[in-house]
Symmetry: C2
Subunit: 266 residues, 2 copies
Amino acid sequence: MLIIGERINSTRPRIQEAIKARNAPGILKEARSQLDAGAHYIDINCAVTSGDELQDMDWAISVVQSGIPDVNICIDSPNYLAIEKALKVYKAGGRVFINSITGEDQRIEKIVPLAVRGDTKLIALTMDETGMPNTAEERFRLAKRIVDKVERLGFNTENLYFDALIRPISTEPDQAREFLRSIPMIKALGRVKTICGLSNVSYGLPSRGTINAAFLAMAAQSGLDAAILDPTDRHMSSSIAASMALLGGDEYCAGYIRAFREAKLQ
Amino acid sequence: MLIIGERINSTRPRIQEAIKARNAPGILKEARSQLDAGAHYIDINCAVTSGDELQDMDWAISVVQSGIPDVNICIDSPNYLAIEKALKVYKAGGRVFINSITGEDQRIEKIVPLAVRGDTKLIALTMDETGMPNTAEERFRLAKRIVDKVERLGFNTENLYFDALIRPISTEPDQAREFLRSIPMIKALGRVKTICGLSNVSYGLPSRGTINAAFLAMAAQSGLDAAILDPTDRHMSSSIAASMALLGGDEYCAGYIRAFREAKLQ
């Protein structure tokens, strides 16, 4: 399973401060600790710094790639101009995710050409201007429409990762089941993959890591290809290692045993 | 999910000693702690005490039911005479599981009539005299043959719980997937249910609770109806509570929040 480390996100007060204060060692440390914990990509979100998002993104990406020359990044912004800028700034030898498009035409028309030109992977949220889907079937229909649109723009759907948008079970008890049911349905569209920013599932509940860990195991079993999460959280690293060992992504449990030796398990 | 507490098992040295020494408070404490932790049934196994299994079973059941008048028990023995004796001794107001039959005719012919007469639930292991199954399909075929046999003996298959026998992933990496795949296949046989003595999956690995917890979440998602486990293990109580909250067996997460308040979560 592909892991995108979510910690460099400007909605977190500590990150917001580090970006404002241009605290390069602080940002670099967040990137390194997530890579050490098993992240394959580092998400970078500067959307809520109350500064200039384009300049903040430029700075944050420069910091991360200057310290880690082969870093893979995930450019996370609601603003296509910030994404465009980030793609220009990023010169490291790694791979790039763009996070994200939705079913909205305007977003697709602005962002997909950037993804095509940059040969990036692309996250698509199964929502559009009419709102968020409730059932697995609605998620599937939205995904299908997005596939049609991005294919017309020349995007290779092998690099398209659908996030079927999990919502909190504390207020919507059937949403985990609907999300899980949607994964094989969306994957049946063909070459496309699935991803999940999973911590939303436990919003409003105590001991959130416990819910997140069980949900990740279920999602892995349903065929989830990638996840956006905090890999330094031991609930997460435990569940990922165990899920891979159980589902065959970790021959003879070598990765699981290594995770144990590195004290990453609960 | 129905939980059978596995701790009163004579393969555990401490239990073996308690049975030998006729330590009634020790046995009763094991039963109570499991019920407090959420067990619905208490498994009682006296097969390896190197004493007289029938007398040991008589004693252990008497102890548990005298202390807990409405206790549900799971009579766990390879010996139909011990099962017969246990059914005579058990007078509490609860329900009974018999653990277990296999596909072997001799076991079925001896034990199923006891289950019919006692109106008990019955665990059937998907194995027979030819050995243990490897694939989900082999498990399904064995289950189907067992259903045919027990139906002929007048057993209500609504009370039949198949244990598809999970084996350690440390030496057989594909066994978790085959087991999980078999659950919906077996349940498609009709009214029958599924159960799992799940700790075998992690045999030979470090941090076994981590594997067991992820496996339980996956099995719950596959439709597992019951599990034989140690409910006092926080890996297990966490995974059960989270799985029920995620899969809809726990409306508005009330049980999960209660488990948190009772400090049963990790």
